[in-house]
Amino acid sequence: MTDLLIKLIPVFPLLAVIANGLIGRYLWSHEWAHRLAWGSVGLSFLCTIGVFADVVRTGTAHEVVAYPWIFGGDLTINMAFLVDPLTCVMLLVVTGVGFLIHVYSVGYMHGEDGFTRFFTYMNLFMVSMLLLVMGNNYAVLFIGWEGVGLCSYLLIGYYYDKVSAAKAATKAFVVNRIGDAGFLLAIFLVFINFKTLDYTKVFAQIGHLSPEMATAISLCLLVGAIGKSAQIPLYTWLPDAMEGPTPVSALIHAATMVTAGVYMIVRNHLIFDLSPVALTVVAVIGGATALFAATIGLVQHDIKRVLAYSTVSQLGYMFLGAGIGAYTAAIFHLMTHAFFKALLFLSAGSVIHALSGEQDIRKMGGLSHKIPWTHKLFFIGTIAIAGIPPFAGFWSKDEIMAHAFTHHHYVLYGMAAIGALLTSFYMFRLTYLTFYGKSRMDHHTEAHVHESPMVMIGPLMVLGVLSLTGGFIGFPPDQGALHDFLAPAAGASGEHEVSTGLVLTLMMIASGIALFGWALAHYLYSVNPTAPDRWAAKAGVLYSTLMNKYYIDELYDLLFVEPTKKWGLALDWFDRVVLDGIVRAVGHMAEMGAAGSTWVEKHVIYGGINIVGYGNHLMARQWRQLQSGMVHHYAAIIVAGLFLLAVVIQLIVQR
């Protein structure tokens, strides 16, 4: 029964993709397209709950083979699913949050061109993401991995007639390719070492792996994770990905796809555990990204871009958690982040919807009374992400930071703490600029401000409740329900004895940091609204550096994009001048040869043949005189022939 449910989970969205994608445009209206889309995801969610209940009850992992996919020689790759506690958590997040975002999209995308296309891509994304988290081997993981990348590309470029969207989509795709190459190398290395791609078989013989090989595999996996989860140095695609519709940003670029890298690291934590070097790299990249992205988020003006940098930063916390061995905490933060970041993005979408597409927070302000529900929900998201206790973000982020501190990673702890302060500050800055103070909208926009319909606010409320209370499944720290549940899959992280006093102190510090960030934002954007500009002017170079995102995009352009373009142009020149020249020369020679042989043919061969033919002709002219047409002549010849025959026979008989 459970096996059937597991197989059904990805089937529903797949059916919706086929139906909506192939014939939906022609056969049914937008109403049925969106009903199919969220309905299928809802059914998947129900199946997931069934599977989850079974896993909780029996405490065992399920491995289901849907069908054998590639087999030959000693290679067998099945389209098979592994549902263990880790997959269960991911499934719940993906289908649950995915379902809410699908419902929200019905309202948000209302009246857009390509409505059916949008939901087809969204469902295709769900299928890929489900394969990614459910696969029991690296090959299925890789299909999902590439599938979500493709859907990300398609959905970022959803407004494909907009140049910036098309460019952002290409950028995301190309940058992800770099990571995917690393991931593919890791898969090859795994196969070379273990002769199989199944997780269970690989992890069963993990003891035979040499530390050097473990480091190599881990680092290659890490390259893949960095690309997908937008970490330094491959994070640049994620802020640009905000060109996609807001539900896409919420689903793909906040809640699910970008967390695939974290999932993958936690899934392979047994390999990472063998390599302290790789773990350190993971942690350092995570910590650096958490801090780095947060600083950029401080000064951005686009509501979605602030959230995008915030996502990069929060993913950095997850990497940091995974890198210091706090796998459960990383997954915990992944889950709470999915709740509050989806909530923030969707609320931001609601704001954008209300302001007829305006995304610049400098042209907002004073919206708290005009769109009260959106305001309340955005505020909930803000306090959840900022780490104000006792809401979701506080528990998960504090757990990662506490783990860093108690395991003596003080530098990383410091980076995370500063990052947390900045997070709290830029999120409250965003809230203040958007919802409080005086309105900075133009009159035309202001006249059209309206609260979003219930179909959008409803999912937001569910996410709001989850953001407020989601942290308690990880309570008390290191011993919560989530930790017990994940222990078999993610390894127990709580064997390190820590005094309660230290835990409480760290919690106090974390809360203090969050509240200080809030206070700072309150002072700068509410009490003394002229201060930010003065501070910015005083900061000068620093401010403009942040404003320009440390010029990283320009640097990459200079280092990689432009040389690649030049190299491409050089190759183009080489192709056109050298290669084409050779081809043309060969062609020319063939042409000349052909002309020569034409002459020989015309004058030598034809001549010979004509001589033979003419000779025949002359002889035939003589010989045909024999045929006079006179019956008598013929008769006479016959008679002569008969006589001749008779004579010959006579001679033969006589002999």
């Binding site: 045909r624 045929q627 006079s628 047409g629 006179m630 019956v631 008598h632 008769a635 006479a636 008679v639």
Partner: protein, 100 residues
């Protein structure tokens, strides 16, 4: 009893007559008649040998030859009529299109 050689001799004379008729005469109808004579010479031979060898096969073949001769005469006369319509003549020498 007439000896077989007498039959064969008569047959030979008749055949030579027919052959000369075919080769020498210029009138198509005469040529046709000469062909008939040659056929009948063959018939005499057939019947004579049939009798001599006491086998009915020769007489059977003679009957076939008579039937075929009738058919041949019919076809030949039809051709003569067609040619005559075009040429107003039955002279064989004028019919020389059957060449090259």
């Amino acid at each position: 009893m007439i000896p077989l050689s007498a039959y064969v001799a008569v047959s030979a004379v008749l055949f030579i007559t027919g052959l000369l008729g075919v080769l020498i005469r210029r009138n198509f109808i005469i040529v046709l008649m000469a062909v008939e004579i040659m056929l009948n010479a063959a018939n005499i031979n057939l019947v004579a040998f049939s009798h001599y060898l006491e086998s009915m096969a020769g007489q059977l073949v003679a009957l076939f030859v008579i039937a075929i001769a009738a058919g041949e005469a019919a076809v030949g006369l039809a051709i003569i009529i067609v040619v005559f319509r075009g040429k107003i003549s039955t002279n064989v020498d004028e019919m020389n299109l059957l060449k090259w």
